[in-house]
């Protein structure tokens, strides 16, 4: 973890990004860059627009009724609106949302789904991917003897790790994690955090979290969102030790939120 990002290639470049749901504005005028192969943390209280930012990156506005966004977001040098093939976009972006959705398929099929959607048929190849992703999500030891069990019947914390494994099985360029550890015990959370630190050599990670300490531990740079505004962005150590904005200071010290 260093103050300067590993590369200066901009993976995401958001300018004047506003997100609306019908007449409700969830995020307004956010400007921020995410660099390739960094972990970018987003902290902030509820209703601050963190999740809305992630939803735009996967173009969830195309199937969420009422949702639309303004401004521009460049992803890998290309305006998100110019990605004609949204399926290709979404395959390159893995998402994990706080309410885990274990698909009503077996554990194996849950994790093998993304490779299969890409057209992978060979059983041996799928086996390798499934095991690798489940290990990375710290779930393998718990489910290796019952890969045929229904994913939707796992416990909440296990389903959350299952969705992490599923997102990793996409072999994404960009991994969006929204409160990935909300139902996961602290020890397992630490194991996943260690994996994330390794994974950033392969992908860019945007980490939305309510645990400011998690952002502090993991993120290379961090943004603070408040009431639909991006208040402050900076290298994590700077943001935590010397915040420019008094609201950031107050939030980090737990004085509100």
């Amino acid at each position: 973890m260093s103050d300067s990002p590993p590369t200066r290639i901009k993976e995401i470049e958001a300018r004047k990004l506003s997100v609306h749901y019908g007449r409700y504005t969830a995020l307004s005028g956010a400007n921020l860059d995410v660099y390739r192969n960094e972990i970018f943390g987003i902290i902030g209280p509820a209703n601050s627009g963190k999740t809305s930012f992630l939803r735009v990156l996967n173009r969830m506005d195309t199937f969420t009724p009422g949702m639309h966004f303004e401004g521009t977001v460049m992803y890998r040098g290309k305006d998100l609106r110019d990605w004609r093939n949204l399926y290709a976009l979404r395959r390159s972006v893995g998402v994990v949302f706080p309410l885990p959705v274990g698909l009503p398929l077996s554990v194996y099929d849950n994790v093998a789904l993304a490779p299969r959607l890409r057209g992978v048929r060979a059983k041996a190849e799928l086996d390798v991917t499934v095991e690798k992703c489940l290990r990375r999500a710290a779930l393998w030891d718990e489910v290796k003897d019952r890969l045929g069990a229904l994913g939707s019947l796992l416990s909440g914390g296990q389903q959350q790790r299952l969705t992490i494994a599923r997102a990793l099985s996409q072999e994404p360029d960009l991994l969006l994690l929204d409160e990935f550890s909300i139902a996961v015990d602290p020890v397992t959370t630490m194991r996943i955090e260690d994996v994330l630190k390794e994974l950033k050599s392969e992908m860019t990670i945007v980490l939305v979290t309510n645990l400011t300490q998690q952002a502090r531990r993991l993120a290379d740079r961090t943004a603070f969102f408040l009431q639909g505004q991006c208040v402050e962005v900076g290298p994590t150590s700077e943001l935590f030790s010397d915040p420019k904005h008094e609201k950031t200071q107050a939030y980090i010290e737990g004085r509100f939120g």
């Binding site: 969830m60 399926y87 959705v101 698909l103 009503p104 789904l113 993304a114 959607l117 229904l150 997102a167």
Partner: protein
């Protein structure tokens, strides 16, 4: 330890009262079914025999069997299912999974629900005009089955759409978020979850199709035809119309005969329903939920 208060006691009394009320209503619902089945078995079973199922009617339909009518009804139901299931299921998939939520979609949905309420005699006249006369199928199994298919389509569409909608939206979104196309999502997640519900809708359709009389009266069912149809362009006898005929149109029919016909008709529906339910359970077990 715990003293029951007056409020507790009252809540308990209300709870028990409501439970009895709902139980009573359920029994009230079951009662007619039991009585109908009981009367049919009591009065119709003397007529039943292997010969009754496998022989032609004789003596001006006052004796003999119901073989042509039984076969005719099976043929009518099968052809109607072949026509209505692909169309109905495909339309329901479109409406549930693809159609944008706009006024046109809502109008189509409304039209389908209203179509389900159209009286069967109106469908019969439509079938007569469209299939018998306009398309020139004549009074035939094809015309009668297509009429039945049109009549049952709304049931298939509505029930299929309901079972598709019962699949949580979050499953679809999880798939879309991984880059799955709508079609991949439908095949891998939505349909496997909805298939048992879809089959239930088809069970309903079978029961209704087998028992309908009005729509086939003008379009393909014959009063009396002592031989089997050779193709879908032939007329056929049908159990429902045969029941109507022996019960009201033919003099000197022994009392057990119409009851026997009714018993066979109900038995046939029950057998088809059990087969569908069996299939449904197999599908559900294979999917393990």
């Amino acid at each position: 330890m715990f003293e029951s208060t007056e409020l507790n006691a009252r809540n308990w009394r209300i709870q028990q009262g409501m439970r009895l009320l709902f139980l009573g209503m359920t029994l009230l619902l079951v009662l007619p079914v039991i009585i109908i089945l009981g009367v049919l078995i009591y009065k119709g079973s003397p007529a039943l025999s292997w010969a009754f199922l496998t022989e032609n009617p004789t003596n001006g339909m006052t004796a003999g069997g119901i073989f042509p009518a039984l076969m005719g009804t099976i043929a009518l139901v099968l052809v109607a299912l072949i026509a209505s299931i692909p169309v109905g299921v495909a339309a329901a998939i479109y409406l549930s999974e693809y159609a944008p939520d706009n006024w046109l979609t809502r109008l189509i949905n409304l039209a389908i629900i209203n179509l389900a309420g159209v009286p069967s005699i109106v469908h019969a006249l439509f079938g007569l005009g469209a299939f018998v006369l306009f398309f020139g199928f004549g009074t035939s199994i094809l015309a009668a089955s297509l009429t039945l298919a049109i009549m049952t389509l709304p049931v298939v569409i509505v029930s299929t759409r309901e079972s598709l909608q019962a699949v949580p939206q979050s499953f679809r979104e999880a798939c879309w978020n991984m880059g799955a196309t709508r079609w991949q999502t439908i095949v891998r997640v939505v349909l496997p979850n909805a298939v048992s519900g879809i089959l239930t809708g088809i069970i309903l359709e079978v029961s209704r199709t087998a028992g309908e009389t009005a729509p086939i009266m003008f379009t393909g069912a014959a009063f009396f035809l002592p031989f089997l149809p050779e193709s879908v362009f032939d007329q056929t006898m049908a159990l429902s119309l045969h029941l109507f005929v022996v019960a009201t149109q033919v003099p000197n029919v022994p009392e057990s005969l119409p009851y026997g016909v009714a018993l066979v008709l109900i038995g046939m529906v029950l057998i088809m329903n059990s087969a569908s339910i069996g299939l449904r359970m197999v599908l559900r077990n294979r999917k393990k939920w």
